[in-house]
């Protein structure tokens, strides 16, 4: 019974902590604007077939590489495909990379970081060296080599970017678990017979949740950029699937004839990355000001 009561007290402390953070976040107008933008973008991605002015892959042969007009608001590409339509469909790739790749990175990073921080000693030394080894490769370069190993395609892009991004979060979680494991509530859990696994999963990781939220929000824009970079190099998402990076890469060839072609997908990319960056900053200030130098 007492354990249950304890959990309730902890829950209450939790709710008020997140409630306070939410109140702090709500006061930040820029953060709210970014949140609204991101929610809208998610809706656009989900309802792309309803919102896009043309079906995906539709080719208007009467307008090849046309500039912006009333028929094609942002112009058309070399196959006569509507650029606005492709940008709308491209948001699906960018957002799902942010979601899926980051989920992979967080799973690996939190798991290894928590193990290293909790056990310390030899386990920590081994995991820390592994983190250091994987962190020695520039992210984009490592992602390129992984794409070479796995081959191109959407799923492989998720895997590559997820597998590249886990070292940062592993380091942060390791440091945090190291501090947390000395706290009384962990000792209490251990005294009442909790196994190591249970302590890590039920007590330590939930206590790192605010940090995880901040780190994830700040990592999503990098993931989106890595996807765009891979697709730009021709190693990521393959045509005819629309990706902002792939569009910019194609547009490069028509810089002289249709300069706006390369500008618009880039603006979509910049705005999305900007929104996530600013939201990440605000979340950090609201949830975990200690992570200032991130």
């Amino acid at each position: 019974m007492s354990i249950k009561a304890n959990a309730n007290v902890q829950d209450a402390a939790y709710t008020s902590f997140y409630h306070d953070a939410f109140v702090r976040l709500k006061r930040d107008k820029i953060a709210i604007a970014c949140l609204v933008f991101i929610v809208l973008l998610i809706l656009v991605a989900i309802f792309a077939p309803l919102i896009a002015p043309y079906p995906e892959g539709f080719q208007d042969t009467s307008a090849i590489l046309a500039g912006p007009s009333s028929k094609h608001w942002l112009g058309t590409d070399e196959f006569g495909r509507d650029i606005l339509t492709r940008i709308i469909y491209g948001s699906r790739i960018s957002l799902s990379v942010g979601l899926i790749a980051e989920a992979i990175a967080v799973t690996i990073g939190v798991f290894l970081g928590a193990l290293a921080g909790y056990y310390g000693g030899k386990i920590d030394a081994v995991i820390s060296r592994i983190i250091e080894i994987f962190a020695s490769f520039p992210h984009i370069l490592f992602a390129i080599v992984i794409m070479f190993v796995l081959g191109t395609g959407v799923i492989n892009v998720f895997l590559a970017i997820g597998f590249v991004g886990w070292t940062g979060i592993a380091r942060i979680i390791r440091a945090q678990v190291m501090q947390l494991k000395e706290k009384e509530f962990v000792e209490a859990a251990r005294a009442s017979g909790g196994s190591d696994l249970k302590i890590i999963l039920r007590h330590l990781i939930p206590n790192c949740l605010s940090t995880i939220i901040v780190v994830v929000t700040m990592a999503i824009p990098s993931d989106i950029m890595y996807e765009a970079s891979l697709s730009f190099l021709g190693l990521g998402v393959q045509p005819p699937v629309s990706s902002w990076g792939e569009m910019i890469s194609m547009a490069r060839k028509y810089l002289r004839t249709n300069p706006t072609y390369s500008v618009f997908p880039g603006i979509a990319l910049v705005l999305t990355v900007l929104a996530f960056n600013l939201l990440g900053d605000a979340l950090r200030d609201a949830l975990d000001p200690k992570l200032k130098n991130l």
């Binding site: 520039p138 370069l141 390129i144 765009a228 021709g234 990076g245 990355v273």
Partner: protein
């Protein structure tokens, strides 16, 4: 300090071994026979097998790794499948280009970033601060490859001030350096601002002020020097990101550097080059990081005696 140096050296060697192992494992699990790729399917199975034997590709993987490692230590990454030249020769030639570019990017990013960050900190809350922070927020969101194209569009095609590709004249370095360096200048500006503001709240700044030291010297001498450590720490990551980011910028500006060498090798499945480039770039970062760790002492006498607390 000696103990710290030795421990860092030991860790560096372990990490470098790990880097070679990870790279070797990755490129060797790729499906497809490199010899078949190299001979472009023009050879029969017996010939392919004979060449595989000659190249040692039929040996067990641990033996191949050991050979790769012992050769890599002497700077030998094997020969390119297609260019028929030692990989190290190709890497060194490409690195002289990428290295020059990286130094320019670093110089651009640090100069602009530290200057803007200091200005923002000094004029905290004023319009100067707001404008600098706004530009840096935008700068952090613009991917280098898109920025490069926009610069090409404006300064290359429209104004015709700068060449849009190659590196034939010194002015050709400007656009690649700016395109790649902008994002780092932006994050350095933010980092510098935060750290100078932090340092300004410290006791020794109050002491300096109470002694009558002018505001300029307070910032230039005390705050600046103490804001230097986080920036120095960031330098390692910066070098790593620049070497990675050069892949994109080199592709756009047709610069024959390490990044372009790697991307072309990937397109052709030239495994020795992929392997060599990856290990080389990671090694440059690992060694740069070691040197950075060993220079902390110059900034902070406490570290000079005891060694950095972290790591």
């Amino acid at each position: 300090m000696l103990k710290f140096t030795l421990r860092r050296l030991y860790q560096t060697i372990i990490v470098l071994l790990g880097v070679t192992l990870v790279t070797f494992t990755m490129v060797n699990v790729v499906p497809g026979d490199p010899v078949a790729v190299m001979l472009q399917k023009k050879a029969d199975d017996a010939t392919i097998n004979r060449i595989r034997d000659q190249m040692g590709l039929n040996d067990p993987l641990p033996a191949q790794y050991f050979r790769f490692l012992t050769n890599a230590v002497t700077g030998d990454f094997g020969n390119s499948y297609f260019q028929k030249k030692p990989v190290m020769e190709l890497i060194l030639r490409a690195f002289s280009v990428t290295g020059t570019l990286a130094v320019l990017v670093l110089a651009f990013a640090i100069t602009l970033g530290v200057l803007m960050g200091t200005l923002a900190a000094v004029f905290r809350g004023k319009w100067v601060d707001r404008v600098i922070m706004m530009i840096s927020t935008l700068g952090m969101a613009a991917p280098s490859f898109w920025l490069a194209i926009i610069l090409q569009l404006i300064f290359g095609l429209t104004l015709k001030w700068l060449p849009i590709s190659g590196l034939r004249q010194p002015s050709a370095y400007i656009m690649p350096s700016v395109a790649l360096g902008m994002i780092y200048a932006a994050s350095l500006a933010r980092l510098t601002r935060t750290n100078i503001l932090d340092a300004m709240n410290q006791d020794y700044i109050r002491t300096a002020r109470s002694k009558g030291v002018g505001e300029f010297f307070v910032v230039a001498k005390h705050a600046f020097k103490n804001a230097g450590i986080p920036i120095l720490t960031y330098l390692g990551t910066l070098i790593k990101s620049i070497l990675g980011g050069s892949v994109l910028v080199e592709t756009i500006f047709s610069i024959n550097g390490l990044g372009k060498l790697l991307v072309e090798a990937i397109m052709k499945r030239d495994i020795p080059i992929i392997q060599g480039c990856t290990v080389y770039i990671a090694a440059v970062f690992v060694i740069a990081n070691l040197l950075i760790d060993l220079t902390y002492g110059l900034f902070d006498p406490r570290i000079r005696v005891a060694g950095p607390a972290k790591r």
